[in-house]
């Protein structure tokens, strides 16, 4: 059995760990509030953008001449996967959940004989993926330096994607991120952004009559790249809210576990102290009796 001194040391060490996790939880809670607000504020923009694109794409009569970003290249050979993760650890299953989702997708690609490329955003995802898929990663992006999620960063990513699309380097692009549902639930998502999947094909006759200035194709050509930035930005916002939420609950759990551990160790400490006293007493008494 561990000596009294050892137990004492362990208790203090667990207690100081608990202090750290508690502090991290507080910080995450404060950040979560801001991230959540940002995610909610950003939603109208991406929703509106989506609506307009839906209306526009329904209005396009000949799908053959539609912009490639909308209709795709007509092939389905090379997939580009953009995996959005965090730059910091200690956030529970946040990163692993995304990676798990992405890996499932990769193995599906492999079994279907398709090729794929990976872009990692955030260093944690890169760390986990490079062991297995190092040769597939074409680009690593990290926004460690920017404090908050901003649109400028999202635009950088989307520019990269669009440029590589124009060079015909891939046919389908999917982004992986965590959707923020609430503090304890984050849902890993795979969203296809190129070609754009119109999630609900509105009935043609229900379509609103719009006047376009300039022509539809030209607006679409201008709008689609913007939409990609918007979608990535949305994913980044959702991700940052999820990250903080996930970290908060992970740290909350850790604090509670540490508390339990301290209780257990304290009982053990008290018992062994009592045992030592009793042992000493018995020794004294039996020593006295033998006299």
């Amino acid at each position: 059995m561990a000596s009294l001194d050892d137990l004492k040391k362990r208790i203090t060490s667990v207690k100081s760990t608990q202090k750290i996790t508690k502090a991290m939880k507080m910080v995450a809670a404060a950040k979560l509030k801001r991230a959540q607000e940002n995610a909610e504020k950003g939603r109208p923009y991406s929703e509106k953008m989506n609506n307009i694109i839906l209306n526009l794409s329904n209005g396009i009569s000949d799908t053959e001449n539609a912009p490639k970003l909308l209709a795709g290249t007509g092939q389905d050979k090379v997939h580009l996967c953009v995996v959005l993760t965090s730059d910091r650890g200690l956030c529970g299953g946040f990163n692993s959940n995304i990676i798990k989702k992405a890996k499932a997708y990769f193995s599906k690609m492999v079994s279907e004989g398709k090729n794929f490329k990976i872009i990692t955003v955030g260093s944690k995802g890169d760390d986990q993926l490079k062991r297995q898929y190092n040769d597939k990663i074409v680009e690593r992006i990290s926004f460690k330096d920017s404090k908050n999620v901003n649109f400028f960063d999202a635009e950088k990513v989307s520019k990269m994607i669009i440029e590589s699309f124009q060079k015909n380097e891939f046919d389908v692009c999917t982004i992986f991120y965590n959707k923020f549902k609430n503090v304890i639930t984050q849902i890993p998502q795979a969203q296809q952004i190129i070609p754009l999947k119109s999630s609900d094909t509105k009935k043609k006759d229900e379509r609103d009559n719009y006047e376009f200035e300039p022509e539809e194709d030209e607006i679409l050509g201008n709008l689609l790249p913007k939409n990609i930035s918007t979608q990535i930005f949305k994913a980044m916002l959702e991700n940052s809210a999820s990250e903080q939420g996930s970290r908060m609950s992970a740290m909350d759990n850790a604090t509670r576990n540490a508390g339990e551990m301290v209780d257990k160790l304290t009982i053990q400490y008290n018992r062994s102290r009592q045992a030592a006293i009793t042992k000493e007493l018995i020794e004294i008494i039996s020593g006295a009796e033998s006299l």
Binding site: N38, K41, G42, Y45, E155, E211, F212, E213, I219, K226
Partner: protein
Amino acid sequence: MSEEFNLEIVNPEKSFLNKEDVSEVVVPAFEGEMGILKDHISIISFLKPGILKVFSKSGEDKYYVEDGIIEFKENTLSVLTSSIFSLDKIDKNYISQSLSETEKLLGKDDLDDQSRFLISQKIDVLKSINSN
């Protein structure tokens, strides 16, 4: 009957402006300035760099926009833009900085006509703001 309609300006970070008593909006659309009044036909268009003017009961507000899309539908005008600044609060330093950056861009040779047009538009607008 009132002659007012709703105006919503959103940028990626937040909802920038929400007004319900707008009587007229002049937007710098790609093919020229466009005034929008109540009961305008549904329209989608995109913006070039310029000044967006909002007329309402409380007076006239001016905003500088760099790009964006507008949608008018059922008496609601939505403006989606990634960069918008109120002219009253705009930072002069930002303007001159942006101006010099844009002028540098114009010096490049590999521009197509459309981006050259957009850039020179931007320079004109920025200059006019700067001189005020």
